[in-house]
C-alpha cells in the first residue's frame, strides 16, 4: 500500500483513538462528575458572578433558546461594528481598511453561525484585532453554542419526563473552559513547534535569492488555526486557508488539523450513547455516519489520485494525480480525504481548492454538505441527524400502523411538522438561492455591483453553475468552503448568503431542541413488544434510506445540471 493512502488511514485511526476517551471526558463534564480540569471551577464561578448568572437555575427548552439567541444577537452586533471600523482600532500592522457594511454583515454572520464563508482575504480584509477579538472569539463561542444546544437534547433524551434541561450558561461556558480552550492550546502548541507563526509581527519584507523583493504576511496564526478546526469553523487566517504553507506547514500539522476537526463530532456521537446510556443506539448512528463518509470518500480519493482526464490528453505524466490547486506536501490522496471530511462535517477549511477538483469529487463535496449529518459540525451534526431519525420513526410508524414512539415518548403531529419543515428548509434555501443568482446572471449581467453578475463566474459551462450551487449549499450547511473562483465579493452575495446562513443555522438548532423538549415533557411510555426498536440495524438502515431518498429527491436535478453534466462532458 502506498504511503499517501496509509497516511489517510492512520489519520482516521488516530481520530477514533482520541474520540473515545474524549467522549467519556465530555460526558463527565456535562454530568458534573469530577475531572482533572476542576481547577477551572473557581474561574467559572467568578465569570458567573460578574455576569450575574446563577448556573444552577434549571431552564426549559424555550428558556435555553432565548438565552442562546440573545447572546448570539449580542455577538452579531459587536462583530458587525468592529469589522466595519477595524481600520480605526489597534493591532493593524499591515494598515488594512475597514469592511464595507455588506461585507461586515456577511463576515459577522458567517463567523457567528460557525460557517466562516470568507468573502475577503485574510491578508488584506481583516486586522489582527478583528482576527483575534472578533473572528477567533466567534470561532470559540459558535462551536460552544452548537455543543450546548446538543447537550440540551442529550438531557431531554435521558430523562423520562422533565422540563428541566440544565442551565444554558453553565453548559456553554464549560464547553469553552473544559473542552475547547484546553484542547486548542495543546493543538496550537503542536503547530507552533512545527513552524506556524504565533507572534504579533506584521508583514515582513525579504529579498529573495535572485533579488526579488517580496512580502510575507504573518501574525498570531497558530491559536486561530487550532480553534478553526477544533470548533469545525474552517475560516482561514490567510486567503489560501490550510493550503497556505504558514497555516499548514507539513504533514504533521496536516494530520493534526485533520484530527482536530473530526474528533469532537465523532466524540459527540459516542458521548450521546454514554450520556443517555444507550450505547448500541449511538454505535449504530456512528456506523451509518461512517458508512456515508466512506461512500463519499472513495470516489473522491480515486478521482483526485487518477488525475484530470483533460490533462491526460495533453500527454504528460499524471502519477501525482490532479495537482491543480493542490500542494505537494499533502498530495492528491490526502487532499481528497480532506475535501470529504471538511464537507461532511461543517468545517469548510481546505488544503486544496475545491473549484479545481474533479467533477465527481465536487459532487461528493456538495452531497456531504447537503446531508450535513455525517458526523456533522460541532453539536449541530447530531441535531441534523436527529431530524432524520424523527422522520424515520414517523415513516416506520406509518408502515406498521402504530402511533410512533421514540425513546419512550409518543411522536405526534406537532413534532413531525417541525421535523418536516426543517427537512424542507435546506433544499428551499439552496435551490431558491441558486435559481435567483442564475436568473440575475442571465437577465442582468451588467448591474453595477462590485463584481458584475456577468463576471462572477470563474469557469464557463456546467462548472460555472456548480460554483453558484456550491456557494448556497455551503452557506445553508454553515460549511464555509467554496468553489472560490466565484466572484462573491459584492452586495448580492454578501446579503443573500448572509440570510441563508442565519436561517440555515438557527432553525435547524431550534427545531430539534423544540422537538426534544416537547417530547421530554410528555408522559413516559415504557417499551413493549410492539415498540419500534431504534437501536437496531434495521432502524439504522431505515434512517439511512430516509436520508438518501430525501436528499436524492431534493437535489438530483440541480446536481445533474452541475457536476454530473460536467463529468460526462470532460
Amino acid at each position: 500500500m502506498n504511503t499517501a493512502i496509509a497516511g489517510v488511514i492512520a489519520t482516521y485511526g488516530i481520530t477514533l483513538l482520541l474520540a473515545w476517551p474524549l467522549s467519556r471526558y465530555i460526558v463527565k463534564v456535562f454530568k458534573g462528575d469530577k475531572t482533572w480540569l476542576d481547577f477551572m471551577s473557581p474561574l467559572e464561578k467568578l465569570f458567573f458572578k460578574i455576569s450575574g448568572i446563577n448556573p444552577k437555575e434549571e431552564m426549559n427548552w424555550k428558556q435555553h433558546m432565548k438565552a442562546l439567541l440573545t447572546i448570539n444577537l449580542v455577538w452579531f452586533i459587536y462583530a458587525f461594528f468592529v469589522l466595519m471600523f477595524q481600520d480605526k482600532l489597534p493591532l493593524n500592522p499591515d494598515g488594512n481598511p475597514g469592511q464595507s457594511a455588506d461585507l461586515a454583515f456577511n463576515t459577522a454572520i458567517s463567523f457567528l453561525v460557525n460557517c466562516n464563508l470568507q468573502h475577503y482575504s485574510g491578508e488584506t480584509g481583516v486586522t489582527y484585532f478583528t482576527q483575534l477579538f472578533v473572528l477567533a472569539f466567534l470561532q470559540f463561542v459558535s462551536a460552544a453554542t452548537g455543543i450546548a444546544a446538543l447537550v440540551v437534547v442529550f438531557k431531554a433524551l435521558k430523562e423520562k419526563t422533565t422540563t428541566q434541561l440544565g442551565n444554558f450558561w453553565d453548559i456553554f461556558l464549560k464547553t469553552i473552559t473544559r473542552i475547547l480552550l484546553p484542547i486548542s492550546i495543546v493543538i496550537a502548541l503542536i503547530f507552533i513547534f512545527n513552524g506556524m507563526p504565533a507572534s504579533f509581527e506584521g508583514k515582513d519584507t525579504v529579498v529573495t535569492m535572485q533579488g526579488d523583493t517580496v512580502n510575507v504576511s504573518r501574525g498570531p496564526v497558530a491559536g486561530f488555526v487550532a480553534i478553526k478546526h477544533l470548533g469545525t469553523n474552517g475560516g482561514g487566517w490567510f486567503g489560501a486557508n490550510s493550503a497556505h504553507p504558514l497555516e499548514n506547514p507539513n504533514y504533521i500539522t496536516w494530520m493534526t488539523e485533520m484530527v482536530a476537526q473530526v474528533v469532537i463530532p465523532i466524540a459527540m456521537v459516542f458521548a450521546l450513547g454514554l450520556f443517555i446510556q444507550r450505547r448500541k443506539f449511538a454505535n449504530i448512528i456512528f456506523a451509518i455516519m461512517t458508512l456515508g463518509m466512506i461512500i463519499l470518500l472513495i470516489p473522491s480519493m480515486q478521482q483526485e489520485m487518477a488525475g484530470n482526464p483533460a490533462i491526460a490528453k495533453l500527454g504528460i505524466d499524471q502519477a501525482a494525480g490532479a495537482m491543480e490547486g493542490k500542494e505537494v506536501r499533502f498530495g492528491a490522496a490526502a487532499t481528497g480525504y480532506w475535501s470529504t471530511v471538511t464537507t461532511i462535517i461543517s468545517t469548510g477549511s481546505v488544503c486544496g481548492w475545491h473549484d479545481s477538483t474533479m467533477p465527481m469529487t465536487g459532487l461528493m463535496q456538495m452531497l456531504g454538505m447537503m446531508l450535513n449529518c455525517l458526523y456533522g459540525g460541532c453539536g449541530v451534526g447530531i441535531l441534523n441527524y436527529y431530524i432524520y431519525i424523527i422522520i424515520a420513526v414517523f415513516i416506520s410508524g406509518l408502515m406498521v400502523g402504530r402511533t410512533p414512539e421514540f425513546m419512550g415518548h409518543k411522536l405526534e403531529a406537532r413534532e413531525v411538522k417541525i421535523a418536516a419543515l426543517i427537512t424542507l428548509l435546506s433544499p428551499f434555501l439552496i435551490l431558491a438561492g441558486t435559481a435567483l443568482s442564475s436568473w440575475i446572471l442571465v437577465h442582468y449581467p451588467d448591474i453595477n455591483w462590485a463584481v458584475k453578475p456577468g463576471a462572477w463566474l470563474n469557469n464557463p459551462g456546467y462548472h460555472g453553475f456548480s460554483e453558484m450551487l456550491y456557494e448556497y449549499t455551503s452557506s445553508n450547511a454553515n460549511n464555509g468552503s467554496g468553489f472560490e473562483g466565484l466572484g462573491d465579493g459584492n452586495v448580492f452575495w454578501n446579503v443573500s448568503t448572509g440570510f441563508v446562513l442565519i436561517l440555515g443555522r438557527y432553525l435547524p438548532i431550534i427545531g430539534p431542541v423544540a422537538i426534544a423538549g416537547i417530547m421530554a415533557s410528555k408522559k413516559y411510555v415504557p417499551e413493549s413488544a410492539g415498540t419500534l426498536r431504534t437501536d437496531s440495524l434495521t432502524f439504522g438502515a431505515m434512517t439511512f434510506a430516509v436520508i438518501i431518498i430525501l436528499t436524492a429527491l431534493s437535489y438530483f436535478p440541480a446536481l445533474v445540471l452541475g457536476p454530473i453534466a460536467e463529468y460526462f462532458s470532460l
Binding site: 504511503t3 497516511g7 489519520t11 455576569s51 450575574g52 438565552a67 449580542v74 482575504s121 483575534l132 477579538f133 463561542v141 450558561w169 461556558l173 469553552i176 492550546i185 507552533i192 513552524g195 507563526p197 504565533a198 507572534s199 515582513d204 525579504v206 535569492m209 535572485q210 517580496v214 512580502n215 510575507v216 497558530a222 486561530f224 486567503g239 489560501a240 493550503a243 497556505h244 504553507p245 504558514l246 504533514y251 494530520m255 488525475g307 483533460a310 490533462i311 495533453l314 504528460i316 505524466d317 502519477a319 501525482a320 495537482m323 491543480e324 490547486g325 500542494e327 505537494v328 499533502f330 490526502a334 481548492w353 474533479m358 467533477p359 470563474n458 469557469n459 472560490e484 473562483g485 470532460l570
Partner: protein, 187 residues
C-alpha cells in the same frame, strides 16, 4: 429576552478578553521558544536572510530548480490558486503553454516524463516543495548549464528529499529553496 441581555453582554466581554486576548498572548509567549520564535522560520545563506523556509520563491534562471507555478507571483503578501475547473478550455490552454515552455527549456526531456505538478498552479501559490519527480526532471537541464555530472545532482536531490512521515505516512517532498542553496554550495 430582556432577562438574558445583561448576562449575555457581561459574559461576552469576559470571553472576548479570555479568548481573543489572553489565549493568543500566552501562545505568542510560548512561541519564543519555538523555531523562528513564532515569527515564521527564515532561511539564512551567506549571513543574509534569503527567505522563509515555507514560502516558495521564484527562480527564473534555468541554472536553478524551479518551483511550481504561482498565481500570486510568489508574493506572500497574498495567497491563492487559480480555481480553474478541470475542463476549462482557457485553463487547459495555459497548461499546454507551460508544457511547451518547459519543453523549450528542457529539450532532453520527453513530454510523457513531465510531472503534472510542474505545470499546474499550487493551491497557495506559495508551495515551497517539489516532488522527487518534479526535481529530477530538471536535473539534465541544470547539469548541462552548470557542467556538473547528472549523477551528482541526483544525489543532491536525494539528500534533500524529506521522506514520508516516519517513512510510512504521506508523500516525499523537497524544499526548493534549500535545494537551490545546496546547489550553489556544490563545488
Amino acid at each position: 429576552m430582556k432577562k438574558y441581555l445583561w448576562p449575555s453582554i457581561k459574559l461576552t466581554i469576559i470571553l472576548i478578553v479570555l479568548l481573543g486576548g489572553l489565549y493568543p498572548l500566552f501562545l505568542s509567549a510560548v512561541a519564543k521558544m519555538a523555531p523562528g520564535k513564532g515569527d515564521g522560520v527564515k532561511v539564512v545563506h551567506n549571513g543574509k536572510v534569503v527567505g522563509y523556509e515555507n514560502i516558495a520563491q521564484q527562480f527564473s534562471d534555468d541554472k536553478y530548480f524551479q518551483p511550481r507555478p504561482s498565481t500570486v507571483n510568489y508574493n506572500a503578501a497574498g495567497s491563492g490558486g487559480s480555481n480553474k475547473a478541470a475542463g476549462n478550455p482557457d485553463y487547459l490552454k495555459s497548461v499546454q503553454e507551460r508544457i511547451d515552455t518547459f519543453m523549450v527549456h528542457n529539450p532532453e526531456i520527453k513530454r510523457t516524463d513531465i510531472p503534472v505538478e510542474l505545470v499546474t498552479a499550487s493551491a497557495s501559490g506559495l508551495d515551497p516543495d517539489l516532488s522527487p519527480a518534479a526535481a529530477l526532471v530538471q536535473v539534465p537541464r541544470i547539469a548541462k548549464l552548470r557542467g556538473i555530472a547528472p549523477e551528482k545532482l541526483k544525489d543532491l536531490v536525494a539528500k534533500n528529499t524529506k521522506g514520508p512521515l516516519l517513512g510510512l505516512f504521506g508523500v516525499p517532498t523537497i524544499n526548493v529553496l534549500k535545494l537551490n542553496i545546496a546547489l550553489d554550495e556544490m563545488k
